[in-house]
């Protein structure tokens, strides 16, 4: 995971290295924004919107899990008092202690 992030950063560094001393980051930023086409803007918006929608849906699902899980486990414990657990959090995510 982190290797790939370093790789992308290294790629960006190497591609901008040759311009050192010729242009400032502001020059590059203005050029990038100036060249921005409307079709590219829609592509970025579509991608960011899709990711945002997915993240919101995930959040909603975890809230629903949190709302229903406790009731479910309580009812199951009435039937099986020794009911064992998966030790996930109430939102159904990985236990922080198990991440190590």
């Amino acid at each position: 995971m982190w290797f790939s992030l370093v790789g992308i950063s290294a790629f960006f560094y190497l591609s901008t290295k040759s311009l050192a001393g010729h242009y400032t980051f502001a020059d590059i930023g203005i050029k990038v924004m100036g060249d921005f086409k409307i079709s590219e803007a829609f592509s970025y918006l579509f991608g960011a919107g899709g990711v945002g929608y997915g993240l919101r849906e995930r959040k909603l699902r975890r809230q629903t899990t949190e709302r229903l899980a406790h009731r479910n486990s309580t009812l199951e414990q009435l039937v099986d008092p020794n009911r064992s657990s998966s030790h996930l959090t109430s939102r159904g995510t990985t236990n922080p202690e198990d991440r190590t």
């Binding site: 590059i28 990711v51 064992s84 657990s85 996930l88 109430s90």
Partner: protein, 189 residues
């Protein structure tokens, strides 16, 4: 200057893909796997609640412990980790699941069928989770296919088949869940 503009777009795209893979897709895979295992676990619970098997029966508790262990440590089940366990881990042939299997085979037809089906569903979900969504696994499978097509004999101590991968995962999950039995501040999901 045109080069740097193109490079900027490429880097933004690469960062976006990086985020999408590691923070969205990876988490989604884990949640999907856990969802399948929760489904199997719930079916087993319903079977026991309907009187099909006792809640304290070792055949039931072992399978429940197995599904709990795999749900709990799903985030650790990656292709590279499983590959490392299979190659370098202490893979004992006489594990708890073999004892479970021998026990289940002596059960009445209805109970045996239900438990074996649940076990098969767990094994299938685990295999799918580890192999089907890992780009590294795809590359390894392609290489294996290529080697197989060329009929090159590779002398290597590897697993005999998908069944062994499931067996390794099951043994690991049972060991991990029995090692950590700490309830601290977590809800019983």
């Amino acid at each position: 200057m045109i080069t740097i503009v193109n490079a900027s777009h490429l880097v933004v795209g690469l960062f976006a893909l990086w985020f999408l893979y590691f923070f969205c897709w990876h988490e989604h895979r884990i949640d999907t796997y856990r969802q399948r295992l929760f489904g199997v676990r719930d079916d087993l619970f319903d079977f026991a609640a309907s009187g099909g098997i006792k809640f304290d029966d070792p055949a039931y508790t072992t399978l429940r412990d197995l599904s709990n262990g795999l749900i709990r440590f799903a985030h650790r089940l990656t292709f590279t980790r499983v590959w490392a366990i299979v190659l370098f881990g202490n893979f004992s042939r006489s594990n708890r699941m073999e004892a479970w299997m021998a026990d289940v085979k002596s059960r009445p037809e209805a109970v045996r069928g239900k438990l074996l089906k649940a076990h098969e569903q767990i094994a299938h979900a685990s295999l799918w989770h580890v192999v089907a969504w890992s780009p590294l696994a795809w590359i390894c499978l392609l290489v294996a296919l290529f080697v197989g097509l060329l009929k090159v004999r590779v002398r290597m101590k590897v697993v005999q088949g998908p069944r062994d991968i499931s067996a390794v995962l099951e043994q690991e999950a049972l060991e991990q869940s029995s090692l950590v039995e700490d309830d601290s501040c977590l809800a019983a999901v």
